[in-house]
Symmetry: C2
DNA sequence: CTGAAAGCGCTAACAC
DNA sequence: GTGTTAGCGCTTTCAG
């Protein structure tokens, strides 16, 4: 791999001249067109590639964005990573993926940050505010830090979140307009048993709204579950085994909802005839669920764009902005229906 | 952010001593325990972090693995990225993620990622060998390149693939043992219209096996489709509209199969009563499909481990190994059944 | 055992 | 316009 010095020697100029030419326009320094052409040509022939490490050492940007995601197998975050990386690429940045593995294992998360230190900025996908040491450490990595899908404002971190409350309200409006009063909630609990982040907020919003509307929430109607298909399936089975069954189940993610849908299918429980099931996120998969899932769509792309922008802007301005909260929208499909029409024959040919 | 020099000054030793202590064990050079402790303590207090750029400049490894994934929104590859990044982390590496968006031009643009060849090695997830310029570029990347989920052996690239043929054979054995003779195939076609990679191989294997067994493949039984839920749904609709319907549909991925399942549901076509549907990959979602999907499981974790190993080994040895091909295994669930029992009432309560 | 010194490849003053 | 000269933060001889 040739260095600048190599191509300088080969074209009979000094290394700094090569640097000026190859560095591109930003220099106000004029260069003899002939020299410039010669250098460019030699560089091309020798297949010169700049060494970003050396550039970085000199204080230049590495054009690398660190993205630390709690759980990339979560389809929602897979989509988020996609959106972020697309936007980052569009802006000329590449993405270094740190993987926190959804264990609040601080050591791992920490290492992820440490080794992401040569990134120009860091994006945290999914709330990590349960990891104090992690955050503390982040703070004195003197790069901009952006929390995407965060709620809790943390000093030094630009927050971009979704209005979970509004999403839950929309879903509740929808369900109640269909006559539901016996509504259960399946929330998320992280592996260590801490309930935080978006799922916690959705759960809180549900409880508050239920209280405000005077809904009775019998014992066992609010279930913690791991945010997996299996978790959702398990929760639905338990709910359907209660002596007093809910007529609707609000799952705090589509993954949980789809798992629940599957459990209903297995148990021969008709959806939405016997129970309505709604989710949150609007994964691509949601409209291909059986039946297609009523859910809440998050503006993932817009949020990703805002996140990348915040990260890159943070490079110039040196203070983190006030939180940006995006509004989600309810998407009504077929997994929700009027309460108890009758557990009937409403099978094939629909047009979802 | 303190430098080594800072902590050297603060602990009253030379910067090189600090380096020796902080660099860790690999040095055969003994250091006075007292000095060592003092340095360590000061470093801790000043929250010292090594600068990986500077390390890298000196020729040390960056402990960064470049991963270029064809399509991260494909759940299969999301899982693959997870597996690779987990294994990489286990080995002390971090992952730089490039997303090719399954487009040739993007992949070429990702040359940028390669140019930032501060990655110690590069893993390509999903076959990109249709892009000659891309490959050419790869060749003079002076780091080991590993093709995961590749078939075509390319000089200079270590290949790790799955035995698609064996998977298709297994599926065919299964379907034929159930009495199916009218079997359709839904394959993948990439956006540029080139049919390559695993999906191409599966399609070829299907055709060969069908020919070997003297199966008649009527016009329209082999369909190209984009590898999305929608693509699978669309394909099934077309197949069910044929005057001569297949009794079984082999989809070349679970994503396609699940899309097809959804279309069947919408059209009121019973699965597996009227048509059996099988997939390939065994995504986590497959067992939660309605009905649970018969498919072929790929040893994703093992392949990821092998891929990371090949990449890291490639750092020492300087030649790429011969291809490693992993065998997948058929997983029978409920989406496949004996041919034509009768399009009947076989609805709820099953126990899948 | 520890320090001094030479760079890794590149950018950015500062000269001429 | 172009060359010279310092480093960026770190590893690594080579001398003590």
């Amino acid at each position: 791999m040739p260095t600048m010095q190599d191509i300088a020697t080969a074209s009979g100029v000094s290394q700094s001249t090569v640097s000026r030419v190859l560095t591109g326009a930003p220099n106000a320094i004029p260069i003899n067109p002939a020299t410039r052409e010669r250098i460019l040509e030699v560089a091309r022939q020798m297949r010169y590639r700049p060494n970003p490490l050396a550039r970085g050492l000199r204080g230049a940007r590495t054009m690398l964005l660190g993205v630390i995601v709690r759980e990339i197998t979560d389809p929602f975050f897979a989509g988020a990573v996609d959106a972020v990386s697309t936007e980052a690429n569009r802006r000329g940045y590449n993405v270094v993926l740190g993987h926190a593995h959804s264990r609040a294992d601080e050591a791992i998360a920490l290492r992820a940050v440490l080794e992401t230190r040569h990134c120009d900025a860091i994006l945290l996908l999914g709330d990590n505010s349960d990891q104090p040491r992690f955050l503390e450490d982040l703070r004195d990595a003197n790069v901009p830090v952006v929390g995407l899908w965060w709620q809790a404002p943390v000093p030094g971190v630009s927050i971009i979140g979704v209005d979970n409350r509004s999403g839950v309200e929309g879903l509740m409006d929808h369900l109640m307009s269909l006559g539901h009063r016996k509504i259960a909630f399946v929330g998320g609990v992280f592996l260590e048993g801490r309930r935080i982040g978006d799922l916690g907020e959705r759960r809180a919003a549900f409880l508050e709204r239920a209280a405000a509307d005077g809904l009775k929430i019998p014992n066992g109607f609010v279930r913690d579950a791991q945010n997996t298909l299996g978790g959702g399936a398990e929760a639905l089975k338990v709910l359907m085994a209660l002596s007093e069954r809910p007529t609707a189940v609000m799952a705090s993610t589509d993954v949980l909802a789809i798992g629940a849908l599957h459990a209903a299918y297995q148990m021969g429980v008709d959806v939405p005839g016997e129970v309505s099931i709604v989710g949150f996120d609007d994964l691509p998969m949601a409209q291909y669920a059986t039946p297609p899932l009523t859910t809440v769509r998050q503006p993932v792309t817009e949020m990703a764009v805002a996140g990348v922008k915040a990260a890159i802007d943070g490079l110039e301005e040196h203070e983190s902005k006030s939180p940006q909260i995006f509004k989600p929208t309810v998407v009504v499909r077929e997994s929700s229906g009027s309460v108890r029409i009758e557990a009937d024959e409403r099978r094939p040919a629909r047009t979802g």
